[in-house]
Amino acid sequence: MMDSVTSMTFIIALYIFMLAAFTGYVVISRVPSILHTPLMSGSNFIHGIVVVGALDALFNATTLTGQIIGFVGVFLGAGNVMGGYVVTDRMLAMFRPSQKQTPEKKGQP
Protein backbone atom coordinates (compact mmCIF):
# COMPACT_ATOMS: atom_id res chain seq x y z
CA MET A 1 0.00 0.00 0.00
CA MET A 2 2.93 2.34 0.60
CA ASP A 3 3.92 2.39 -3.05
CA SER A 4 0.64 3.73 -4.35
CA VAL A 5 0.34 7.14 -5.94
CA THR A 6 -1.19 8.54 -2.78
CA SER A 7 1.23 7.09 -0.27
CA MET A 8 3.00 9.55 1.96
CA THR A 9 5.44 9.77 4.82
CA PHE A 10 4.38 10.63 8.33
CA ILE A 11 5.79 14.15 8.10
CA ILE A 12 3.87 14.82 4.92
CA ALA A 13 0.75 13.52 6.62
CA LEU A 14 1.33 16.03 9.40
CA TYR A 15 1.56 18.83 6.84
CA ILE A 16 -1.73 17.75 5.31
CA PHE A 17 -3.38 17.49 8.72
CA MET A 18 -2.10 20.93 9.67
CA LEU A 19 -3.45 22.53 6.51
CA ALA A 20 -6.78 20.75 6.79
CA ALA A 21 -7.19 21.67 10.44
CA PHE A 22 -6.41 25.29 9.69
CA THR A 23 -8.87 25.28 6.82
CA GLY A 24 -11.65 23.88 8.98
CA TYR A 25 -10.93 26.46 11.61
CA VAL A 26 -10.94 29.44 9.27
CA VAL A 27 -14.03 28.31 7.44
CA ILE A 28 -16.08 27.93 10.60
CA SER A 29 -14.76 30.82 12.59
CA ARG A 30 -17.10 33.41 11.08
CA VAL A 31 -20.29 31.46 10.62
CA PRO A 32 -23.37 33.27 11.94
CA SER A 33 -25.09 31.47 14.80
CA ILE A 34 -28.23 31.12 12.71
CA LEU A 35 -26.42 28.43 10.69
CA HIS A 36 -24.89 26.47 13.53
CA THR A 37 -27.29 23.56 13.47
CA PRO A 38 -27.22 22.97 9.71
CA LEU A 39 -23.47 23.40 9.83
CA MET A 40 -23.09 20.69 12.43
CA SER A 41 -25.03 18.30 10.24
CA GLY A 42 -23.26 19.56 7.11
CA SER A 43 -19.87 18.75 8.56
CA ASN A 44 -21.36 15.49 9.77
CA PHE A 45 -22.18 14.75 6.13
CA ILE A 46 -18.63 15.50 5.05
CA HIS A 47 -16.99 12.98 7.31
CA GLY A 48 -19.28 10.45 5.70
CA ILE A 49 -16.51 10.15 3.11
CA VAL A 50 -15.37 7.36 5.41
CA VAL A 51 -17.65 5.19 3.27
CA VAL A 52 -15.02 5.38 0.56
CA GLY A 53 -12.48 3.78 2.85
CA ALA A 54 -15.00 1.17 3.91
CA LEU A 55 -15.75 0.34 0.28
CA ASP A 56 -12.05 -0.16 -0.41
CA ALA A 57 -11.81 -2.40 2.61
CA LEU A 58 -14.80 -4.47 1.56
CA PHE A 59 -13.56 -4.79 -2.01
CA ASN A 60 -10.33 -6.27 -0.72
CA ALA A 61 -11.91 -8.53 1.89
CA THR A 62 -10.72 -12.12 1.74
CA THR A 63 -12.22 -13.67 4.84
CA LEU A 64 -15.72 -13.89 6.15
CA THR A 65 -14.80 -11.73 9.15
CA GLY A 66 -13.37 -9.17 6.75
CA GLN A 67 -16.54 -9.26 4.71
CA ILE A 68 -18.77 -8.83 7.72
CA ILE A 69 -16.80 -5.95 9.13
CA GLY A 70 -16.54 -4.38 5.69
CA PHE A 71 -20.28 -4.75 5.17
CA VAL A 72 -21.01 -3.11 8.48
CA GLY A 73 -18.53 -0.34 7.69
CA VAL A 74 -20.08 0.39 4.32
CA PHE A 75 -23.59 0.31 5.77
CA LEU A 76 -22.70 2.68 8.58
CA GLY A 77 -20.73 4.99 6.30
CA ALA A 78 -23.49 5.11 3.70
CA GLY A 79 -25.94 5.93 6.44
CA ASN A 80 -23.72 8.75 7.62
CA VAL A 81 -23.52 10.18 4.10
CA MET A 82 -27.14 9.95 3.14
CA GLY A 83 -28.58 10.92 6.51
CA GLY A 84 -26.25 13.86 6.85
CA TYR A 85 -27.07 15.12 3.40
CA VAL A 86 -30.83 14.80 3.66
CA VAL A 87 -31.05 16.43 7.04
CA THR A 88 -28.76 19.31 6.11
CA ASP A 89 -30.53 19.89 2.86
CA ARG A 90 -33.91 19.95 4.58
CA MET A 91 -32.76 22.44 7.16
CA LEU A 92 -31.06 24.75 4.71
CA ALA A 93 -33.99 24.71 2.32
CA MET A 94 -36.00 26.41 5.05
CA PHE A 95 -33.84 29.48 5.27
CA ARG A 96 -35.29 31.86 2.76
CA PRO A 97 -35.57 35.64 2.74
CA SER A 98 -39.01 37.16 3.07
CA GLN A 99 -39.33 38.60 -0.43
CA LYS A 100 -39.58 35.31 -2.26
CA GLN A 101 -41.52 33.60 0.44
CA THR A 102 -43.25 30.75 -1.32
CA PRO A 103 -46.24 29.26 0.42
CA GLU A 104 -45.44 25.64 -0.53
CA LYS A 105 -44.31 23.52 2.38
CA LYS A 106 -42.00 20.55 2.24
CA GLY A 107 -41.72 17.43 4.33
CA GLN A 108 -43.53 17.96 7.61
CA PRO A 109 -47.25 17.22 7.59
Partner: protein, 471 residues
Protein backbone atom coordinates in the same frame (compact mmCIF):
# COMPACT_ATOMS: atom_id res chain seq x y z
CA UNK B 1 -1.48 3.04 -12.25
CA UNK B 2 -3.85 5.04 -14.41
CA UNK B 3 -6.76 3.98 -12.27
CA UNK B 4 -4.85 4.92 -9.16
CA UNK B 5 -4.29 8.36 -10.64
CA UNK B 6 -7.93 8.79 -11.52
CA UNK B 7 -9.06 7.72 -8.08
CA UNK B 8 -6.44 9.93 -6.45
CA UNK B 9 -7.55 12.92 -8.50
CA UNK B 10 -11.20 12.25 -7.77
CA UNK B 11 -10.37 12.40 -4.07
CA UNK B 12 -8.57 15.69 -4.67
CA UNK B 13 -11.57 17.14 -6.43
CA UNK B 14 -13.95 15.86 -3.78
CA UNK B 15 -11.86 17.33 -0.98
CA UNK B 16 -11.83 20.66 -2.80
CA UNK B 17 -15.59 20.56 -3.27
CA UNK B 18 -16.12 19.69 0.39
CA UNK B 19 -14.09 22.67 1.55
CA UNK B 20 -15.76 24.91 -0.96
CA UNK B 21 -19.16 23.65 0.12
CA UNK B 22 -18.41 24.11 3.80
CA UNK B 23 -17.33 27.66 3.08
CA UNK B 24 -20.51 28.32 1.11
CA UNK B 25 -22.53 27.07 4.08
CA UNK B 26 -21.28 30.04 6.06
CA UNK B 27 -23.91 32.36 4.57
CA UNK B 28 -27.65 31.77 4.38
CA UNK B 29 -27.61 32.94 0.77
CA UNK B 30 -25.13 30.37 -0.49
CA UNK B 31 -25.73 27.65 2.08
CA UNK B 32 -28.02 25.54 -0.06
CA UNK B 33 -25.61 25.56 -2.97
CA UNK B 34 -22.89 24.66 -0.47
CA UNK B 35 -24.40 21.38 0.62
CA UNK B 36 -25.26 20.56 -2.99
CA UNK B 37 -21.66 21.17 -4.03
CA UNK B 38 -20.41 18.94 -1.25
CA UNK B 39 -22.97 16.37 -2.33
CA UNK B 40 -21.61 16.32 -5.88
CA UNK B 41 -18.15 15.80 -4.47
CA UNK B 42 -19.39 12.83 -2.50
CA UNK B 43 -21.20 11.19 -5.42
CA UNK B 44 -18.13 11.69 -7.53
CA UNK B 45 -15.64 10.21 -5.11
CA UNK B 46 -17.86 7.26 -4.20
CA UNK B 47 -18.37 6.53 -7.87
CA UNK B 48 -14.65 6.71 -8.58
CA UNK B 49 -13.98 4.30 -5.74
CA UNK B 50 -15.65 1.59 -7.77
CA UNK B 51 -12.79 1.94 -10.26
CA UNK B 52 -10.63 0.41 -7.56
CA UNK B 53 -12.37 -2.85 -8.41
CA UNK B 54 -9.96 -3.11 -11.32
CA UNK B 55 -7.11 -2.83 -8.90
CA UNK B 56 -7.87 -5.11 -5.99
CA UNK B 57 -5.35 -7.35 -4.33
CA UNK B 58 -4.88 -10.76 -5.99
CA UNK B 59 -6.11 -12.61 -2.89
CA UNK B 60 -9.40 -10.79 -3.02
CA UNK B 61 -10.08 -11.49 -6.67
CA UNK B 62 -11.98 -14.76 -6.09
CA UNK B 63 -14.33 -12.92 -3.74
CA UNK B 64 -14.92 -10.08 -6.14
CA UNK B 65 -18.52 -10.81 -6.99
CA UNK B 66 -19.59 -11.44 -3.42
CA UNK B 67 -17.81 -8.38 -2.18
CA UNK B 68 -19.34 -6.12 -4.79
CA UNK B 69 -22.78 -7.52 -4.09
CA UNK B 70 -22.28 -6.95 -0.38
CA UNK B 71 -21.07 -3.42 -1.04
CA UNK B 72 -24.06 -2.55 -3.17
CA UNK B 73 -26.48 -4.01 -0.65
CA UNK B 74 -24.81 -2.23 2.23
CA UNK B 75 -24.80 1.05 0.35
CA UNK B 76 -28.45 0.72 -0.55
CA UNK B 77 -29.51 -0.30 2.92
CA UNK B 78 -27.58 2.51 4.55
CA UNK B 79 -28.79 5.15 2.14
CA UNK B 80 -32.40 4.05 2.10
CA UNK B 81 -32.79 3.73 5.83
CA UNK B 82 -31.16 7.03 6.75
CA UNK B 83 -32.59 8.78 3.72
CA UNK B 84 -36.05 7.79 4.83
CA UNK B 85 -35.44 8.64 8.48
CA UNK B 86 -33.85 11.92 7.53
CA UNK B 87 -36.73 12.93 5.30
CA UNK B 88 -39.44 12.13 7.77
CA UNK B 89 -37.93 13.08 11.11
CA UNK B 90 -39.55 16.01 12.83
CA UNK B 91 -37.52 19.17 12.95
CA UNK B 92 -37.52 19.15 16.74
CA UNK B 93 -35.90 15.73 16.70
CA UNK B 94 -32.96 16.91 14.60
CA UNK B 95 -30.36 16.77 17.38
CA UNK B 96 -30.84 13.09 18.04
CA UNK B 97 -30.98 12.36 14.31
CA UNK B 98 -27.66 14.06 13.77
CA UNK B 99 -26.32 12.04 16.69
CA UNK B 100 -27.30 8.78 15.02
CA UNK B 101 -25.77 9.69 11.67
CA UNK B 102 -22.65 10.86 13.37
CA UNK B 103 -22.40 7.69 15.38
CA UNK B 104 -22.66 5.68 12.18
CA UNK B 105 -19.66 7.54 10.79
CA UNK B 106 -17.69 6.80 13.92
CA UNK B 107 -18.62 3.15 13.70
CA UNK B 108 -17.55 3.03 10.09
CA UNK B 109 -14.18 4.53 10.99
CA UNK B 110 -13.81 1.95 13.75
CA UNK B 111 -14.57 -0.89 11.37
CA UNK B 112 -11.98 0.48 8.95
CA UNK B 113 -9.49 0.24 11.78
CA UNK B 114 -10.58 -3.31 12.50
CA UNK B 115 -10.03 -4.27 8.88
CA UNK B 116 -6.57 -2.73 8.92
CA UNK B 117 -5.68 -4.64 12.06
CA UNK B 118 -6.97 -7.88 10.56
CA UNK B 119 -5.02 -7.54 7.36
CA UNK B 120 -1.41 -8.47 7.77
CA UNK B 121 0.24 -5.85 5.60
CA UNK B 122 0.64 -3.03 8.06
CA UNK B 123 3.94 -1.31 7.52
CA UNK B 124 5.07 0.14 10.81
CA UNK B 125 4.38 0.52 14.49
CA UNK B 126 3.48 4.13 13.76
CA UNK B 127 0.77 3.07 11.36
CA UNK B 128 -0.60 0.60 13.86
CA UNK B 129 -0.63 3.16 16.63
CA UNK B 130 -2.50 5.64 14.47
CA UNK B 131 -4.94 2.89 13.60
CA UNK B 132 -5.56 2.15 17.25
CA UNK B 133 -6.01 5.79 18.21
CA UNK B 134 -8.45 6.25 15.36
CA UNK B 135 -10.32 3.13 16.41
CA UNK B 136 -10.56 4.35 19.99
CA UNK B 137 -11.95 7.71 18.98
CA UNK B 138 -14.31 6.18 16.45
CA UNK B 139 -15.67 3.68 18.98
CA UNK B 140 -16.28 6.37 21.57
CA UNK B 141 -18.10 8.45 19.00
CA UNK B 142 -20.15 5.43 17.92
CA UNK B 143 -21.55 4.25 21.22
CA UNK B 144 -21.47 7.72 22.77
CA UNK B 145 -23.66 9.06 20.00
CA UNK B 146 -26.12 6.22 20.45
CA UNK B 147 -26.47 7.03 24.14
CA UNK B 148 -26.88 10.69 23.26
CA UNK B 149 -29.64 9.73 20.86
CA UNK B 150 -31.37 7.59 23.48
CA UNK B 151 -31.32 10.45 25.95
CA UNK B 152 -32.57 13.09 23.58
CA UNK B 153 -35.20 10.80 22.17
CA UNK B 154 -36.56 10.30 25.65
CA UNK B 155 -35.69 6.59 25.81
CA UNK B 156 -33.36 7.11 28.73
CA UNK B 157 -34.78 9.67 31.04
CA UNK B 158 -32.34 9.80 33.94
CA UNK B 159 -28.60 10.22 33.78
CA UNK B 160 -27.03 7.04 35.17
CA UNK B 161 -24.77 7.90 38.05
CA UNK B 162 -23.07 5.97 40.81
CA UNK B 163 -20.33 6.55 43.33
CA UNK B 164 -16.79 6.42 41.98
CA UNK B 165 -18.05 6.71 38.46
CA UNK B 166 -15.24 8.97 37.37
CA UNK B 167 -12.64 6.61 38.71
CA UNK B 168 -14.37 3.72 37.01
CA UNK B 169 -14.40 5.60 33.70
CA UNK B 170 -10.77 6.58 34.02
CA UNK B 171 -9.85 2.98 34.73
CA UNK B 172 -11.83 1.80 31.75
CA UNK B 173 -10.07 4.29 29.53
CA UNK B 174 -6.69 3.15 30.78
CA UNK B 175 -7.64 -0.47 30.20
CA UNK B 176 -8.62 0.37 26.64
CA UNK B 177 -5.27 2.07 26.12
CA UNK B 178 -3.35 -0.87 27.50
CA UNK B 179 -5.30 -3.30 25.37
CA UNK B 180 -4.59 -1.09 22.38
CA UNK B 181 -0.89 -1.11 23.13
CA UNK B 182 -0.97 -4.91 23.46
CA UNK B 183 -2.73 -5.16 20.15
CA UNK B 184 -0.03 -3.10 18.49
CA UNK B 185 2.78 -5.07 20.06
CA UNK B 186 1.32 -8.47 19.24
CA UNK B 187 0.17 -7.48 15.79
CA UNK B 188 -0.15 -10.33 13.29
CA UNK B 189 0.42 -12.99 15.92
CA UNK B 190 -2.34 -15.27 17.18
CA UNK B 191 -1.89 -13.79 20.66
CA UNK B 192 -2.87 -10.40 19.25
CA UNK B 193 -6.43 -11.37 18.40
CA UNK B 194 -7.85 -11.49 21.90
CA UNK B 195 -6.42 -8.13 23.05
CA UNK B 196 -7.70 -6.69 19.78
CA UNK B 197 -11.24 -7.85 20.41
CA UNK B 198 -11.10 -6.78 24.03
CA UNK B 199 -9.71 -3.41 22.97
CA UNK B 200 -12.72 -2.75 20.77
CA UNK B 201 -15.07 -3.93 23.48
CA UNK B 202 -13.44 -1.65 26.04
CA UNK B 203 -13.49 1.32 23.68
CA UNK B 204 -17.15 0.81 22.85
CA UNK B 205 -17.99 0.41 26.49
CA UNK B 206 -16.07 3.53 27.38
CA UNK B 207 -18.15 5.52 24.89
CA UNK B 208 -21.27 4.36 26.73
CA UNK B 209 -19.90 5.01 30.20
CA UNK B 210 -18.53 8.41 29.32
CA UNK B 211 -21.91 9.55 28.06
CA UNK B 212 -24.20 7.98 30.64
CA UNK B 213 -23.68 10.49 33.46
CA UNK B 214 -24.12 13.55 31.28
CA UNK B 215 -27.47 15.27 31.62
CA UNK B 216 -29.80 15.12 28.64
CA UNK B 217 -29.75 18.86 28.16
CA UNK B 218 -25.99 18.86 27.68
CA UNK B 219 -26.29 16.39 24.85
CA UNK B 220 -26.07 18.88 21.96
CA UNK B 221 -22.60 19.96 23.06
CA UNK B 222 -21.64 16.34 23.43
CA UNK B 223 -23.00 15.51 19.98
CA UNK B 224 -20.99 18.31 18.49
CA UNK B 225 -17.94 16.97 20.28
CA UNK B 226 -18.57 13.49 18.93
CA UNK B 227 -19.00 14.99 15.49
CA UNK B 228 -15.48 16.36 15.80
CA UNK B 229 -14.35 12.97 17.15
CA UNK B 230 -15.70 11.13 14.14
CA UNK B 231 -13.96 13.62 11.86
CA UNK B 232 -10.70 13.00 13.65
CA UNK B 233 -11.13 9.24 13.53
CA UNK B 234 -11.88 9.38 9.80
CA UNK B 235 -8.82 11.56 9.26
CA UNK B 236 -6.56 9.16 11.13
CA UNK B 237 -7.91 6.07 9.39
CA UNK B 238 -7.49 7.97 6.13
CA UNK B 239 -3.79 8.22 6.90
CA UNK B 240 -3.67 4.52 7.64
CA UNK B 241 -5.30 3.73 4.32
CA UNK B 242 -3.11 6.21 2.48
CA UNK B 243 -6.18 8.12 1.37
CA UNK B 244 -5.59 11.89 1.57
CA UNK B 245 -9.21 12.71 0.75
CA UNK B 246 -10.30 11.01 3.95
CA UNK B 247 -7.50 12.71 5.83
CA UNK B 248 -8.50 16.15 4.64
CA UNK B 249 -12.26 15.77 4.96
CA UNK B 250 -11.87 14.16 8.37
CA UNK B 251 -9.46 16.70 9.74
CA UNK B 252 -11.40 19.66 8.39
CA UNK B 253 -14.46 18.38 10.25
CA UNK B 254 -12.34 17.54 13.26
CA UNK B 255 -11.12 21.07 13.62
CA UNK B 256 -14.34 22.77 12.56
CA UNK B 257 -16.30 20.58 14.95
CA UNK B 258 -13.95 21.31 17.82
CA UNK B 259 -14.38 25.02 17.24
CA UNK B 260 -18.14 24.63 16.99
CA UNK B 261 -18.20 22.68 20.25
CA UNK B 262 -16.19 25.36 21.98
CA UNK B 263 -18.49 28.08 20.64
CA UNK B 264 -21.51 26.15 21.88
CA UNK B 265 -20.13 25.55 25.32
CA UNK B 266 -19.09 29.17 25.55
CA UNK B 267 -22.52 30.39 24.51
CA UNK B 268 -23.97 28.33 27.36
CA UNK B 269 -21.48 29.90 29.71
CA UNK B 270 -19.82 26.60 30.54
CA UNK B 271 -16.50 25.01 29.89
CA UNK B 272 -16.18 21.77 28.01
CA UNK B 273 -14.67 19.99 31.02
CA UNK B 274 -17.63 21.18 33.00
CA UNK B 275 -20.03 19.67 30.46
CA UNK B 276 -18.21 16.36 30.38
CA UNK B 277 -17.30 15.83 33.98
CA UNK B 278 -19.69 17.72 36.18
CA UNK B 279 -23.15 16.60 37.10
CA UNK B 280 -24.79 19.79 36.02
CA UNK B 281 -28.21 19.92 34.43
CA UNK B 282 -29.54 16.93 36.30
CA UNK B 283 -30.30 17.41 39.98
CA UNK B 284 -33.66 19.10 39.47
CA UNK B 285 -32.33 21.69 41.88
CA UNK B 286 -35.36 22.15 44.08
CA UNK B 287 -33.78 25.11 45.86
CA UNK B 288 -36.39 27.45 44.50
CA UNK B 289 -35.11 30.97 44.44
CA UNK B 290 -37.42 33.95 44.38
CA UNK B 291 -40.93 33.60 45.68
CA UNK B 292 -43.78 35.95 45.25
CA UNK B 293 -47.01 36.56 43.49
CA UNK B 294 -47.35 35.59 39.84
CA UNK B 295 -50.08 37.34 37.92
CA UNK B 296 -51.77 35.34 35.26
CA UNK B 297 -54.11 36.16 32.43
CA UNK B 298 -56.00 34.10 29.96
CA UNK B 299 -54.89 33.85 26.35
CA UNK B 300 -57.55 36.06 24.84
CA UNK B 301 -56.76 38.97 27.14
CA UNK B 302 -53.09 38.72 26.34
CA UNK B 303 -53.84 38.47 22.62
CA UNK B 304 -56.00 41.53 22.77
CA UNK B 305 -53.36 43.68 24.37
CA UNK B 306 -50.86 42.58 21.74
CA UNK B 307 -53.29 43.29 18.96
CA UNK B 308 -53.44 46.91 20.10
CA UNK B 309 -49.76 47.27 20.92
CA UNK B 310 -47.60 49.07 18.42
CA UNK B 311 -44.56 46.84 18.83
CA UNK B 312 -44.10 43.26 19.97
CA UNK B 313 -40.91 41.25 20.36
CA UNK B 314 -41.28 37.50 20.55
CA UNK B 315 -38.78 35.42 22.51
CA UNK B 316 -39.12 31.75 21.67
CA UNK B 317 -37.48 29.06 23.77
CA UNK B 318 -37.26 25.36 24.24
CA UNK B 319 -40.92 25.08 25.23
CA UNK B 320 -41.94 26.22 21.76
CA UNK B 321 -40.06 23.26 20.32
CA UNK B 322 -41.60 20.88 22.84
CA UNK B 323 -45.08 22.11 22.04
CA UNK B 324 -44.39 22.09 18.29
CA UNK B 325 -46.16 25.41 18.20
CA UNK B 326 -44.03 27.29 15.67
CA UNK B 327 -46.69 27.16 12.91
CA UNK B 328 -49.38 28.46 15.21
CA UNK B 329 -47.04 31.14 16.43
CA UNK B 330 -46.38 32.38 12.93
CA UNK B 331 -50.07 32.32 12.15
CA UNK B 332 -50.61 34.55 15.16
CA UNK B 333 -47.74 36.82 14.13
CA UNK B 334 -49.07 37.19 10.61
CA UNK B 335 -52.37 38.38 12.00
CA UNK B 336 -50.64 40.93 14.20
CA UNK B 337 -48.56 42.17 11.27
CA UNK B 338 -51.66 42.45 9.11
CA UNK B 339 -53.13 44.64 11.82
CA UNK B 340 -50.11 46.91 11.69
CA UNK B 341 -48.21 45.72 14.74
CA UNK B 342 -44.43 45.82 14.38
CA UNK B 343 -43.36 42.27 15.28
CA UNK B 344 -39.81 40.93 15.62
CA UNK B 345 -38.36 37.68 16.85
CA UNK B 346 -35.44 37.83 19.28
CA UNK B 347 -33.24 34.76 19.23
CA UNK B 348 -30.87 33.95 22.00
CA UNK B 349 -27.86 31.99 20.74
CA UNK B 350 -28.58 29.07 23.07
CA UNK B 351 -32.34 29.15 23.12
CA UNK B 352 -33.65 25.65 22.71
CA UNK B 353 -31.38 22.65 22.93
CA UNK B 354 -28.95 23.14 20.07
CA UNK B 355 -27.38 26.24 18.54
CA UNK B 356 -29.65 27.72 15.93
CA UNK B 357 -32.47 25.51 17.14
CA UNK B 358 -34.94 28.40 17.15
CA UNK B 359 -33.82 29.66 13.78
CA UNK B 360 -34.50 26.29 12.27
CA UNK B 361 -37.87 26.00 13.95
CA UNK B 362 -38.96 29.43 12.82
CA UNK B 363 -37.57 28.92 9.34
CA UNK B 364 -39.55 25.70 9.18
CA UNK B 365 -42.71 27.58 9.98
CA UNK B 366 -41.88 29.96 7.14
CA UNK B 367 -40.83 32.98 9.19
CA UNK B 368 -38.72 35.17 6.89
CA UNK B 369 -35.27 35.54 8.31
CA UNK B 370 -35.32 39.31 8.26
CA UNK B 371 -37.93 39.26 11.02
CA UNK B 372 -35.47 37.30 13.13
CA UNK B 373 -32.94 39.30 15.12
CA UNK B 374 -29.81 38.20 16.91
CA UNK B 375 -29.45 38.98 20.57
CA UNK B 376 -26.89 41.73 20.11
CA UNK B 377 -28.95 43.49 17.48
CA UNK B 378 -32.19 43.60 19.38
CA UNK B 379 -31.26 43.81 23.05
CA UNK B 380 -31.39 47.59 23.09
CA UNK B 381 -34.88 47.66 21.61
CA UNK B 382 -36.70 45.95 24.47
CA UNK B 383 -36.83 49.09 26.56
CA UNK B 384 -38.81 50.86 23.85
CA UNK B 385 -41.09 47.96 23.07
CA UNK B 386 -44.69 47.64 24.20
CA UNK B 387 -44.88 43.90 24.65
CA UNK B 388 -42.36 41.11 24.99
CA UNK B 389 -43.99 37.73 24.44
CA UNK B 390 -41.94 34.89 25.89
CA UNK B 391 -42.96 31.45 24.68
CA UNK B 392 -41.48 28.46 26.44
CA UNK B 393 -38.28 30.30 27.20
CA UNK B 394 -36.90 30.58 30.68
CA UNK B 395 -33.14 30.69 31.22
CA UNK B 396 -32.48 32.93 28.26
CA UNK B 397 -34.59 35.71 29.79
CA UNK B 398 -33.57 35.21 33.42
CA UNK B 399 -32.28 38.55 34.74
CA UNK B 400 -30.59 36.71 37.60
CA UNK B 401 -27.87 35.82 35.12
CA UNK B 402 -26.92 39.47 35.12
CA UNK B 403 -26.98 40.09 38.84
CA UNK B 404 -26.86 36.99 41.03
CA UNK B 405 -23.32 35.68 41.30
CA UNK B 406 -24.47 32.49 43.01
CA UNK B 407 -26.73 31.51 40.13
CA UNK B 408 -25.46 28.68 37.94
CA UNK B 409 -26.19 30.79 34.89
CA UNK B 410 -24.45 33.90 36.22
CA UNK B 411 -22.52 35.52 33.41
CA UNK B 412 -24.61 34.20 30.54
CA UNK B 413 -25.79 37.11 28.39
CA UNK B 414 -29.59 37.24 28.30
CA UNK B 415 -32.30 38.79 26.23
CA UNK B 416 -33.46 41.88 28.12
CA UNK B 417 -37.13 41.01 27.81
CA UNK B 418 -37.66 42.19 31.40
CA UNK B 419 -37.20 45.77 30.20
CA UNK B 420 -40.26 45.74 27.97
CA UNK B 421 -43.29 47.74 29.12
CA UNK B 422 -45.39 44.58 29.36
CA UNK B 423 -44.16 41.00 29.43
CA UNK B 424 -46.28 37.94 28.68
CA UNK B 425 -44.95 34.48 29.39
CA UNK B 426 -46.49 31.36 27.95
CA UNK B 427 -45.55 28.21 29.86
CA UNK B 428 -47.33 25.24 31.31
CA UNK B 429 -46.75 25.83 34.96
CA UNK B 430 -43.96 26.82 37.26
CA UNK B 431 -41.44 24.38 35.80
CA UNK B 432 -37.88 25.52 35.64
CA UNK B 433 -35.75 25.50 32.53
CA UNK B 434 -32.64 23.65 31.63
CA UNK B 435 -30.55 25.13 34.43
CA UNK B 436 -33.12 24.30 37.09
CA UNK B 437 -33.34 27.77 38.62
CA UNK B 438 -36.38 29.89 39.17
CA UNK B 439 -36.80 33.06 37.18
CA UNK B 440 -37.49 36.29 39.16
CA UNK B 441 -38.80 37.86 35.95
CA UNK B 442 -42.02 35.89 36.37
CA UNK B 443 -42.71 37.73 39.63
CA UNK B 444 -42.03 41.14 38.23
CA UNK B 445 -44.79 43.75 38.18
CA UNK B 446 -44.86 44.14 34.43
CA UNK B 447 -45.02 40.39 33.86
CA UNK B 448 -48.14 38.35 33.28
CA UNK B 449 -48.18 34.58 32.92
CA UNK B 450 -50.35 32.78 30.41
CA UNK B 451 -50.38 29.20 31.62
CA UNK B 452 -50.86 26.28 29.29
CA UNK B 453 -49.22 24.32 26.55
CA UNK B 454 -47.81 26.74 24.00
CA UNK B 455 -49.72 25.17 21.12
CA UNK B 456 -53.05 25.37 22.95
CA UNK B 457 -52.46 28.90 24.18
CA UNK B 458 -51.47 30.16 20.76
CA UNK B 459 -54.55 28.56 19.16
CA UNK B 460 -56.67 30.44 21.60
CA UNK B 461 -54.80 33.63 20.89
CA UNK B 462 -55.38 33.23 17.17
CA UNK B 463 -59.08 32.75 17.82
CA UNK B 464 -59.17 35.80 20.01
CA UNK B 465 -57.57 38.05 17.41
CA UNK B 466 -59.84 36.67 14.72
CA UNK B 467 -62.80 37.52 16.85
CA UNK B 468 -61.50 41.03 17.31
CA UNK B 469 -60.97 41.41 13.57
CA UNK B 470 -64.57 40.60 12.73
CA UNK B 471 -65.89 42.63 15.60
Amino acid sequence: MLIEYIVGLSGLIAAGLFIYGLKAMSSPVTAVSGIVTAGYGMVFVVGATFLNLFNISPDARPHLLVNVALAVVALLLGCLWTGWRGRTVQMTAMPQMVAIFNGMGGGSAASLAAVSLLSDHATSGLHLSVTIVGALIGCISFTGSIIAWAKLDGRMRKPVRFGGQRIFNAALFLIALVLGALTVMQYATPQGVLPGILFFAAALLFGVCMTLPIGGADMPVVISLYNAFTGLAVGLEGYVMGNPALMIAGMVVGSAGTLLTALMAKAMNRSLTNVLFSNFGDTASSAKGPEGEMKSADPSDAATSMRYASSVIIVPGYGLAVAQAQQKLYEFVKMLVADGVDVKFAIHPVAGRMPGHMNVLLAEAGVPYDMICDMDDINDSFATTDVALIIGANDVVNPEALTDKSSPIYGMPILNAYKARQVFVIKRGSGTGYSGVQNPLFFQKNCTMVFGDAQAVLSKMVEAVKALGTA
